[in-house]
Amino acid sequence: MNEALLWIPTLDLTSVPAPYHEASAKMFLAAHHGRGHIISPDPLVIRVPSLALTSPRPGFACHLISQSPIPDGPLELIDVTISCPRGVQDPHLARLDQIFKKGPVRRVILTRQSPEQSLNAIAQALDTLLDTFPEILIAIDVNSFGWDAASHFAAEYPPILLDGIADSELWRLMDLAQVLQRPVWLDDFSHHPKPVPELPQYKIFDPPPVDVHRIPFSSRFR
Protein backbone atom coordinates (compact mmCIF):
# COMPACT_ATOMS: atom_id res chain seq x y z
CA MET A 1 0.00 0.00 0.00
CA ASN A 2 1.19 3.50 -0.77
CA GLU A 3 2.30 5.75 2.04
CA ALA A 4 -0.62 7.48 3.77
CA LEU A 5 -1.29 11.19 3.47
CA LEU A 6 -1.72 12.52 6.99
CA TRP A 7 -4.44 14.95 7.93
CA ILE A 8 -3.57 16.67 11.20
CA PRO A 9 -6.43 19.02 12.07
CA THR A 10 -5.05 21.87 14.11
CA LEU A 11 -6.77 24.13 16.63
CA ASP A 12 -4.96 27.38 17.31
CA LEU A 13 -6.06 28.82 20.64
CA THR A 14 -3.79 31.86 20.58
CA SER A 15 -6.61 34.21 19.61
CA VAL A 16 -9.27 32.48 21.74
CA PRO A 17 -10.05 34.06 25.18
CA ALA A 18 -8.50 31.95 27.95
CA PRO A 19 -11.82 30.95 29.66
CA TYR A 20 -12.93 29.25 26.44
CA HIS A 21 -9.77 27.21 25.88
CA GLU A 22 -11.01 23.99 27.50
CA ALA A 23 -14.44 24.12 25.90
CA SER A 24 -12.96 24.83 22.49
CA ALA A 25 -10.46 21.99 22.84
CA LYS A 26 -13.21 19.56 23.92
CA MET A 27 -15.42 20.48 20.98
CA PHE A 28 -12.49 20.26 18.59
CA LEU A 29 -11.46 16.80 19.80
CA ALA A 30 -15.04 15.51 19.86
CA ALA A 31 -15.42 16.63 16.25
CA HIS A 32 -12.29 14.75 15.17
CA HIS A 33 -12.66 11.34 16.85
CA GLY A 34 -10.43 12.40 19.75
CA ARG A 35 -7.57 13.30 17.46
CA GLY A 36 -6.09 16.64 16.49
CA HIS A 37 -3.22 18.93 17.34
CA ILE A 38 -3.74 21.95 19.59
CA ILE A 39 -1.56 25.04 19.74
CA SER A 40 -2.15 26.99 22.92
CA PRO A 41 -0.46 29.83 24.84
CA ASP A 42 -0.85 27.94 28.15
CA PRO A 43 -1.18 24.30 29.26
CA LEU A 44 -4.77 23.00 29.33
CA VAL A 45 -6.53 21.49 32.32
CA ILE A 46 -8.05 18.65 30.30
CA ARG A 47 -5.94 15.87 28.83
CA VAL A 48 -5.41 16.32 25.12
CA PRO A 49 -3.56 13.91 22.84
CA SER A 50 -1.31 16.42 21.14
CA LEU A 51 -0.41 19.87 22.43
CA ALA A 52 2.25 22.47 21.67
CA LEU A 53 2.66 25.75 23.52
CA THR A 54 3.62 29.04 21.95
CA SER A 55 6.04 29.75 24.81
CA PRO A 56 8.55 27.26 26.28
CA ARG A 57 7.41 25.24 29.35
CA PRO A 58 9.09 22.15 30.79
CA GLY A 59 7.32 18.99 29.64
CA PHE A 60 5.65 20.60 26.63
CA ALA A 61 6.51 20.91 22.96
CA CYS A 62 7.07 24.46 21.78
CA HIS A 63 5.56 25.89 18.60
CA LEU A 64 7.58 28.77 17.14
CA ILE A 65 5.90 30.84 14.47
CA SER A 66 7.77 32.98 11.91
CA GLN A 67 7.65 36.22 13.88
CA SER A 68 8.14 34.90 17.43
CA PRO A 69 11.55 35.60 19.01
CA ILE A 70 13.72 32.57 19.71
CA PRO A 71 13.54 31.92 23.48
CA ASP A 72 16.66 31.74 25.60
CA GLY A 73 17.79 28.40 26.93
CA PRO A 74 17.33 24.92 25.55
CA LEU A 75 13.92 23.63 24.40
CA GLU A 76 12.52 20.11 24.75
CA LEU A 77 10.72 19.63 21.45
CA ILE A 78 10.19 22.19 18.73
CA ASP A 79 7.66 22.72 15.94
CA VAL A 80 8.68 25.63 13.79
CA THR A 81 6.97 27.61 11.03
CA ILE A 82 9.32 29.43 8.67
CA SER A 83 9.04 31.08 5.28
CA CYS A 84 10.42 29.01 2.47
CA PRO A 85 13.99 30.30 1.93
CA ARG A 86 14.80 31.94 -1.39
CA GLY A 87 18.44 30.85 -1.37
CA VAL A 88 21.45 30.09 0.79
CA GLN A 89 21.69 33.71 1.95
CA ASP A 90 18.06 33.88 3.11
CA PRO A 91 17.69 35.13 6.72
CA HIS A 92 15.02 32.46 7.39
CA LEU A 93 17.65 29.80 6.88
CA ALA A 94 19.89 31.44 9.48
CA ARG A 95 16.94 31.52 11.88
CA LEU A 96 16.31 27.84 11.30
CA ASP A 97 19.97 27.15 12.07
CA GLN A 98 19.65 28.97 15.39
CA ILE A 99 16.52 27.00 16.28
CA PHE A 100 18.21 23.71 15.52
CA LYS A 101 20.82 24.57 18.14
CA LYS A 102 18.10 25.00 20.79
CA GLY A 103 16.86 21.43 20.88
CA PRO A 104 15.30 18.56 18.92
CA VAL A 105 13.01 19.74 16.12
CA ARG A 106 9.91 17.61 15.48
CA ARG A 107 8.37 19.41 12.55
CA VAL A 108 9.27 22.22 10.16
CA ILE A 109 6.33 23.94 8.47
CA LEU A 110 7.23 25.89 5.35
CA THR A 111 5.13 28.81 4.20
CA ARG A 112 5.46 30.36 0.77
CA GLN A 113 6.83 33.90 0.97
CA SER A 114 4.54 35.14 -1.79
CA PRO A 115 2.50 33.49 -4.55
CA GLU A 116 5.26 34.66 -6.92
CA GLN A 117 7.98 32.68 -5.15
CA SER A 118 9.22 30.34 -7.84
CA LEU A 119 8.57 26.62 -7.79
CA ASN A 120 12.30 26.12 -8.41
CA ALA A 121 13.19 27.86 -5.14
CA ILE A 122 10.63 25.78 -3.23
CA ALA A 123 11.82 22.53 -4.78
CA GLN A 124 15.38 23.42 -3.91
CA ALA A 125 14.42 24.19 -0.30
CA LEU A 126 12.49 20.92 0.00
CA ASP A 127 15.38 18.95 -1.48
CA THR A 128 17.84 20.49 0.96
CA LEU A 129 15.59 20.00 4.00
CA LEU A 130 14.65 16.41 3.16
CA ASP A 131 18.26 15.45 2.45
CA THR A 132 19.71 17.19 5.48
CA PHE A 133 17.09 16.21 8.06
CA PRO A 134 15.54 12.91 6.99
CA GLU A 135 14.21 12.27 10.49
CA ILE A 136 12.30 15.57 10.78
CA LEU A 137 8.75 15.89 9.55
CA ILE A 138 8.65 18.53 6.78
CA ALA A 139 5.26 20.14 6.20
CA ILE A 140 4.05 22.74 3.74
CA ASP A 141 1.30 25.19 4.51
CA VAL A 142 -1.46 24.78 1.93
CA ASN A 143 -2.92 28.21 2.56
CA SER A 144 0.18 30.11 1.50
CA PHE A 145 1.31 27.58 -1.11
CA GLY A 146 -2.04 27.31 -2.81
CA TRP A 147 -3.58 23.90 -3.48
CA ASP A 148 -2.03 23.51 -6.92
CA ALA A 149 1.56 23.89 -5.76
CA ALA A 150 0.89 21.98 -2.53
CA SER A 151 -0.67 19.04 -4.41
CA HIS A 152 2.23 19.00 -6.83
CA PHE A 153 4.85 18.88 -4.08
CA ALA A 154 2.88 16.26 -2.16
CA ALA A 155 2.98 14.14 -5.31
CA GLU A 156 6.68 14.79 -5.98
CA TYR A 157 7.87 14.37 -2.38
CA PRO A 158 5.78 11.65 -0.72
CA PRO A 159 7.21 12.14 2.81
CA ILE A 160 6.06 15.74 3.15
CA LEU A 161 2.96 16.63 5.09
CA LEU A 162 0.25 19.08 4.06
CA ASP A 163 -0.49 21.45 6.92
CA GLY A 164 -3.21 23.97 7.60
CA ILE A 165 -6.07 22.01 6.03
CA ALA A 166 -9.34 23.25 7.49
CA ASP A 167 -12.24 20.82 7.83
CA SER A 168 -13.98 22.51 4.93
CA GLU A 169 -10.95 21.85 2.71
CA LEU A 170 -10.61 18.18 3.61
CA TRP A 171 -12.29 17.20 0.35
CA ARG A 172 -9.32 18.63 -1.52
CA LEU A 173 -6.96 16.36 0.36
CA MET A 174 -9.25 13.38 -0.26
CA ASP A 175 -9.44 14.34 -3.92
CA LEU A 176 -5.67 14.45 -4.15
CA ALA A 177 -5.39 11.15 -2.31
CA GLN A 178 -7.70 9.58 -4.88
CA VAL A 179 -5.47 10.77 -7.72
CA LEU A 180 -2.28 9.66 -5.97
CA GLN A 181 -3.93 6.42 -4.80
CA ARG A 182 -2.83 6.98 -1.23
CA PRO A 183 -4.98 6.51 1.88
CA VAL A 184 -5.66 9.44 4.21
CA TRP A 185 -5.17 9.08 7.95
CA LEU A 186 -6.52 11.40 10.58
CA ASP A 187 -3.60 11.80 12.95
CA ASP A 188 -1.78 13.97 15.46
CA PHE A 189 1.47 13.61 17.40
CA SER A 190 0.12 10.94 19.75
CA HIS A 191 0.33 8.60 16.74
CA HIS A 192 -2.86 6.60 16.87
CA PRO A 193 -4.07 7.35 13.36
CA LYS A 194 -7.55 6.63 12.11
CA PRO A 195 -8.17 6.02 8.40
CA VAL A 196 -10.49 8.56 6.79
CA PRO A 197 -13.14 6.89 4.58
CA GLU A 198 -12.34 7.41 0.92
CA LEU A 199 -14.37 9.66 -1.33
CA PRO A 200 -16.90 7.75 -3.37
CA GLN A 201 -15.24 6.58 -6.53
CA TYR A 202 -17.69 6.49 -9.36
CA LYS A 203 -17.44 3.49 -11.50
CA ILE A 204 -15.86 4.17 -14.83
CA PHE A 205 -18.36 3.16 -17.47
CA ASP A 206 -18.27 -0.27 -18.92
CA PRO A 207 -18.67 -0.38 -22.65
CA PRO A 208 -22.36 -0.53 -23.55
CA PRO A 209 -23.77 -3.99 -22.97
CA VAL A 210 -25.38 -4.10 -26.38
CA ASP A 211 -24.32 -3.24 -29.87
CA VAL A 212 -26.03 0.05 -30.67
CA HIS A 213 -25.32 -0.38 -34.36
CA ARG A 214 -27.71 -3.29 -34.69
CA ILE A 215 -31.47 -3.06 -34.59
CA PRO A 216 -33.17 -3.69 -32.23
CA PHE A 217 -30.45 -2.39 -29.94
CA SER A 218 -32.24 -3.00 -26.68
CA SER A 219 -32.16 -6.52 -25.35
CA ARG A 220 -35.77 -6.06 -24.20
CA PHE A 221 -36.90 -6.45 -27.79
CA ARG A 222 -34.76 -9.42 -28.75
Binding site: P115, A155, H213
Partner: protein
Amino acid sequence: MNIAERYPAQAAPKVGVAKITTTRQCWMQCRFCDFSQFAPLVFGADIDPCLSLSKAETQLKRLNPAVKLLKIRGGLSFREPFSYFRALVKTAAKMFSGPIQAFSPIELYQWHRIEQRPIRDLLAELRWAGATQLGPGGGESLVQPWRDRLSPNRLDAEAWLSLASLGWETGMPPSAMILAGRWLAKEDLAQHLHLLTTQSWHHLEVKIMRPVTLHPELEPIHLIALCRLVSEIKEKMPDTPLYVNDPSYPLTDDAYLLLTRAGADGFYTTLEDIEP
Protein backbone atom coordinates in the same frame (compact mmCIF):
# COMPACT_ATOMS: atom_id res chain seq x y z
CA MET B 1 18.89 18.10 -14.85
CA ASN B 2 20.10 21.27 -13.18
CA ILE B 3 18.00 21.94 -10.13
CA ALA B 4 17.40 25.55 -11.20
CA GLU B 5 15.85 24.39 -14.49
CA ARG B 6 13.44 21.91 -13.05
CA TYR B 7 10.48 24.25 -13.51
CA PRO B 8 10.10 26.66 -16.42
CA ALA B 9 10.68 30.30 -15.56
CA GLN B 10 7.47 31.27 -17.28
CA ALA B 11 4.40 29.53 -18.58
CA ALA B 12 3.85 28.72 -22.24
CA PRO B 13 2.15 31.54 -24.19
CA LYS B 14 -1.57 32.12 -23.95
CA VAL B 15 -3.29 32.42 -27.30
CA GLY B 16 -6.31 34.67 -27.26
CA VAL B 17 -9.27 33.05 -29.01
CA ALA B 18 -12.54 34.46 -30.26
CA LYS B 19 -15.31 31.94 -30.78
CA ILE B 20 -18.02 32.51 -33.33
CA THR B 21 -21.01 30.33 -32.60
CA THR B 22 -23.45 30.07 -35.48
CA THR B 23 -26.10 28.45 -33.32
CA ARG B 24 -26.34 26.67 -30.03
CA GLN B 25 -29.18 24.52 -31.24
CA CYS B 26 -28.18 20.98 -32.00
CA TRP B 27 -29.88 17.64 -32.35
CA MET B 28 -27.04 15.35 -31.31
CA GLN B 29 -27.59 15.22 -27.55
CA CYS B 30 -24.03 14.25 -26.63
CA ARG B 31 -23.93 13.52 -22.93
CA PHE B 32 -20.83 15.53 -22.12
CA CYS B 33 -22.07 18.68 -23.84
CA ASP B 34 -23.59 21.40 -21.66
CA PHE B 35 -23.15 23.97 -24.40
CA SER B 36 -25.84 23.08 -26.91
CA GLN B 37 -29.59 23.36 -26.67
CA PHE B 38 -31.57 20.47 -27.99
CA ALA B 39 -33.52 21.06 -31.18
CA PRO B 40 -35.40 18.07 -32.51
CA LEU B 41 -34.88 16.94 -36.08
CA VAL B 42 -38.55 17.18 -37.01
CA PHE B 43 -40.52 19.24 -39.48
CA GLY B 44 -42.07 22.40 -38.03
CA ALA B 45 -39.88 22.52 -34.92
CA ASP B 46 -39.45 26.03 -33.58
CA ILE B 47 -35.80 26.77 -34.33
CA ASP B 48 -34.08 30.15 -34.19
CA PRO B 49 -32.07 31.29 -37.19
CA CYS B 50 -28.27 31.19 -37.00
CA LEU B 51 -26.02 34.17 -36.30
CA SER B 52 -26.66 36.81 -38.92
CA LEU B 53 -23.78 37.85 -41.13
CA SER B 54 -24.34 41.53 -40.36
CA LYS B 55 -24.16 40.88 -36.61
CA ALA B 56 -20.98 38.84 -37.07
CA GLU B 57 -19.50 41.66 -39.13
CA THR B 58 -20.37 44.32 -36.55
CA GLN B 59 -18.86 42.30 -33.70
CA LEU B 60 -15.75 41.39 -35.68
CA LYS B 61 -15.15 45.07 -36.39
CA ARG B 62 -14.57 45.73 -32.71
CA LEU B 63 -12.67 42.53 -32.02
CA ASN B 64 -10.18 42.57 -29.14
CA PRO B 65 -6.72 43.06 -30.73
CA ALA B 66 -5.31 40.36 -28.41
CA VAL B 67 -7.29 37.73 -30.34
CA LYS B 68 -4.86 35.59 -32.34
CA LEU B 69 -7.16 32.77 -33.42
CA LEU B 70 -10.74 32.61 -34.58
CA LYS B 71 -12.76 29.48 -34.00
CA ILE B 72 -16.05 29.05 -35.83
CA ARG B 73 -18.31 26.36 -34.50
CA GLY B 74 -21.85 25.10 -34.26
CA GLY B 75 -22.78 24.28 -37.84
CA LEU B 76 -25.37 21.64 -37.09
CA SER B 77 -28.36 23.67 -38.11
CA PHE B 78 -30.33 21.92 -40.84
CA ARG B 79 -32.14 25.09 -41.93
CA GLU B 80 -29.24 27.16 -43.24
CA PRO B 81 -27.56 25.89 -46.42
CA PHE B 82 -23.83 25.30 -46.67
CA SER B 83 -23.49 28.58 -48.54
CA TYR B 84 -24.45 30.44 -45.33
CA PHE B 85 -21.56 28.85 -43.43
CA ARG B 86 -19.19 29.54 -46.32
CA ALA B 87 -20.32 33.18 -46.38
CA LEU B 88 -19.73 33.45 -42.62
CA VAL B 89 -16.17 32.20 -43.04
CA LYS B 90 -15.70 34.68 -45.88
CA THR B 91 -16.98 37.53 -43.69
CA ALA B 92 -14.67 36.49 -40.86
CA ALA B 93 -11.67 36.24 -43.17
CA LYS B 94 -12.38 39.71 -44.51
CA MET B 95 -12.27 41.21 -41.00
CA PHE B 96 -9.58 39.05 -39.36
CA SER B 97 -6.15 38.34 -40.77
CA GLY B 98 -5.04 35.58 -38.35
CA PRO B 99 -5.71 31.85 -38.60
CA ILE B 100 -9.34 30.75 -38.74
CA GLN B 101 -10.31 27.33 -37.42
CA ALA B 102 -13.61 26.57 -39.04
CA PHE B 103 -16.00 23.74 -38.22
CA SER B 104 -15.06 20.08 -37.94
CA PRO B 105 -15.61 16.69 -39.59
CA ILE B 106 -18.98 16.53 -37.81
CA GLU B 107 -20.34 19.53 -39.69
CA LEU B 108 -18.72 18.42 -42.95
CA TYR B 109 -20.53 15.13 -42.69
CA GLN B 110 -23.86 16.82 -42.05
CA TRP B 111 -23.48 19.13 -45.09
CA HIS B 112 -22.36 16.17 -47.13
CA ARG B 113 -25.49 14.26 -46.18
CA ILE B 114 -27.93 17.15 -46.57
CA GLU B 115 -26.56 18.75 -49.73
CA GLN B 116 -25.28 15.54 -51.31
CA ARG B 117 -21.96 17.15 -52.16
CA PRO B 118 -18.47 15.63 -52.02
CA ILE B 119 -16.54 16.31 -48.82
CA ARG B 120 -13.52 17.50 -50.79
CA ASP B 121 -15.61 20.18 -52.51
CA LEU B 122 -16.95 21.41 -49.19
CA LEU B 123 -13.45 21.58 -47.75
CA ALA B 124 -12.11 23.36 -50.82
CA GLU B 125 -14.87 25.96 -50.58
CA LEU B 126 -14.20 26.58 -46.89
CA ARG B 127 -10.53 26.98 -47.74
CA TRP B 128 -11.43 29.35 -50.56
CA ALA B 129 -13.57 31.38 -48.17
CA GLY B 130 -10.55 31.85 -45.89
CA ALA B 131 -10.55 29.05 -43.32
CA THR B 132 -7.05 27.85 -42.50
CA GLN B 133 -7.65 24.78 -40.35
CA LEU B 134 -10.27 22.21 -39.48
CA GLY B 135 -11.42 22.10 -35.85
CA PRO B 136 -11.24 19.06 -33.60
CA GLY B 137 -15.01 18.83 -32.92
CA GLY B 138 -16.29 15.29 -32.65
CA GLY B 139 -12.92 13.83 -31.75
CA GLU B 140 -13.61 13.84 -28.01
CA SER B 141 -13.17 10.13 -27.72
CA LEU B 142 -12.20 7.84 -30.56
CA VAL B 143 -12.83 4.77 -28.43
CA GLN B 144 -15.93 3.43 -30.12
CA PRO B 145 -17.69 1.96 -27.04
CA TRP B 146 -17.31 5.37 -25.38
CA ARG B 147 -18.63 7.12 -28.43
CA ASP B 148 -21.63 4.80 -28.44
CA ARG B 149 -22.25 5.64 -24.84
CA LEU B 150 -21.66 9.39 -24.80
CA SER B 151 -22.48 10.52 -28.31
CA PRO B 152 -24.29 7.76 -30.18
CA ASN B 153 -25.56 10.15 -32.86
CA ARG B 154 -22.13 11.23 -34.02
CA LEU B 155 -20.39 9.56 -36.90
CA ASP B 156 -18.16 6.72 -35.81
CA ALA B 157 -14.50 7.07 -34.92
CA GLU B 158 -13.19 5.56 -38.12
CA ALA B 159 -15.29 7.88 -40.28
CA TRP B 160 -14.28 10.88 -38.20
CA LEU B 161 -10.58 10.06 -38.66
CA SER B 162 -10.93 9.56 -42.40
CA LEU B 163 -12.83 12.84 -42.85
CA ALA B 164 -10.22 14.69 -40.79
CA SER B 165 -7.41 13.29 -42.90
CA LEU B 166 -9.01 14.79 -46.03
CA GLY B 167 -8.23 18.21 -44.57
CA TRP B 168 -4.55 17.80 -45.46
CA GLU B 169 -5.41 17.41 -49.15
CA THR B 170 -7.23 20.72 -49.34
CA GLY B 171 -4.91 22.83 -47.23
CA MET B 172 -7.17 22.70 -44.19
CA PRO B 173 -4.94 20.83 -41.74
CA PRO B 174 -7.07 18.99 -39.17
CA SER B 175 -6.63 19.16 -35.40
CA ALA B 176 -7.52 16.59 -32.80
CA MET B 177 -8.48 16.72 -29.14
CA ILE B 178 -8.43 14.82 -25.93
CA LEU B 179 -11.34 15.42 -23.60
CA ALA B 180 -9.75 15.40 -20.16
CA GLY B 181 -12.08 13.99 -17.58
CA ARG B 182 -11.94 11.66 -14.67
CA TRP B 183 -13.73 8.97 -16.63
CA LEU B 184 -10.79 8.54 -18.99
CA ALA B 185 -9.43 5.11 -18.13
CA LYS B 186 -5.80 4.31 -18.87
CA GLU B 187 -6.54 1.79 -21.60
CA ASP B 188 -9.08 4.13 -23.24
CA LEU B 189 -6.52 6.91 -23.34
CA ALA B 190 -3.93 4.53 -24.79
CA GLN B 191 -6.36 3.50 -27.51
CA HIS B 192 -7.36 7.10 -28.26
CA LEU B 193 -3.71 8.14 -28.55
CA HIS B 194 -2.92 5.11 -30.66
CA LEU B 195 -5.63 6.12 -33.12
CA LEU B 196 -4.35 9.71 -33.17
CA THR B 197 -0.81 8.58 -33.95
CA THR B 198 -2.00 6.88 -37.15
CA GLN B 199 -2.01 10.25 -38.91
CA SER B 200 -0.55 13.71 -38.48
CA TRP B 201 -2.31 16.72 -36.99
CA HIS B 202 -1.88 20.45 -37.16
CA HIS B 203 -2.09 20.55 -33.37
CA LEU B 204 -3.71 18.75 -30.45
CA GLU B 205 -6.08 20.36 -27.98
CA VAL B 206 -6.69 19.19 -24.46
CA LYS B 207 -10.19 20.21 -23.43
CA ILE B 208 -11.08 20.03 -19.79
CA MET B 209 -14.51 18.58 -19.13
CA ARG B 210 -16.88 20.99 -17.49
CA PRO B 211 -18.28 19.79 -14.18
CA VAL B 212 -21.71 18.31 -14.79
CA THR B 213 -23.74 17.94 -11.65
CA LEU B 214 -26.01 15.19 -12.85
CA HIS B 215 -23.17 12.95 -13.94
CA PRO B 216 -20.76 12.56 -11.05
CA GLU B 217 -18.58 10.28 -13.13
CA LEU B 218 -17.94 13.25 -15.41
CA GLU B 219 -16.21 15.30 -12.72
CA PRO B 220 -13.49 17.83 -13.57
CA ILE B 221 -10.03 16.37 -13.69
CA HIS B 222 -7.50 17.01 -10.90
CA LEU B 223 -4.54 19.17 -11.87
CA ILE B 224 -2.06 16.39 -11.05
CA ALA B 225 -3.95 13.96 -13.29
CA LEU B 226 -4.14 16.62 -16.01
CA CYS B 227 -0.35 17.14 -15.88
CA ARG B 228 0.15 13.39 -16.14
CA LEU B 229 -2.19 13.28 -19.12
CA VAL B 230 -0.38 16.14 -20.87
CA SER B 231 3.04 14.55 -20.37
CA GLU B 232 1.75 11.21 -21.61
CA ILE B 233 0.36 12.81 -24.78
CA LYS B 234 3.59 14.72 -25.32
CA GLU B 235 5.60 11.55 -24.90
CA LYS B 236 3.53 9.76 -27.55
CA MET B 237 3.34 12.67 -30.00
CA PRO B 238 6.38 14.86 -29.30
CA ASP B 239 6.31 16.74 -32.61
CA THR B 240 2.66 17.84 -32.57
CA PRO B 241 1.99 21.18 -30.84
CA LEU B 242 -0.17 20.64 -27.78
CA TYR B 243 -2.55 23.31 -26.52
CA VAL B 244 -4.58 23.22 -23.34
CA ASN B 245 -7.92 25.01 -23.48
CA ASP B 246 -8.67 27.10 -20.43
CA PRO B 247 -11.38 25.36 -18.41
CA SER B 248 -14.57 26.99 -17.17
CA TYR B 249 -12.86 27.69 -13.83
CA PRO B 250 -9.76 29.89 -13.62
CA LEU B 251 -6.34 28.23 -13.53
CA THR B 252 -3.70 29.57 -11.15
CA ASP B 253 -0.25 30.72 -12.27
CA ASP B 254 1.18 27.58 -10.67
CA ALA B 255 -1.18 25.43 -12.73
CA TYR B 256 0.00 27.11 -15.96
CA LEU B 257 3.63 26.51 -14.97
CA LEU B 258 3.05 22.88 -14.04
CA LEU B 259 1.19 22.23 -17.30
CA THR B 260 4.00 23.88 -19.25
CA ARG B 261 6.47 21.67 -17.44
CA ALA B 262 4.36 18.64 -18.34
CA GLY B 263 4.61 19.53 -22.04
CA ALA B 264 1.91 22.04 -22.99
CA ASP B 265 3.07 24.30 -25.83
CA GLY B 266 0.43 26.92 -25.22
CA PHE B 267 -2.98 27.72 -23.77
CA TYR B 268 -6.12 28.72 -25.58
CA THR B 269 -7.90 31.47 -23.69
CA THR B 270 -11.32 32.54 -24.88
CA LEU B 271 -11.44 36.32 -24.99
CA GLU B 272 -14.63 36.83 -26.94
CA ASP B 273 -17.77 34.92 -27.74
CA ILE B 274 -19.79 35.97 -30.74
CA GLU B 275 -23.23 34.38 -30.53
CA PRO B 276 -26.55 34.82 -32.30
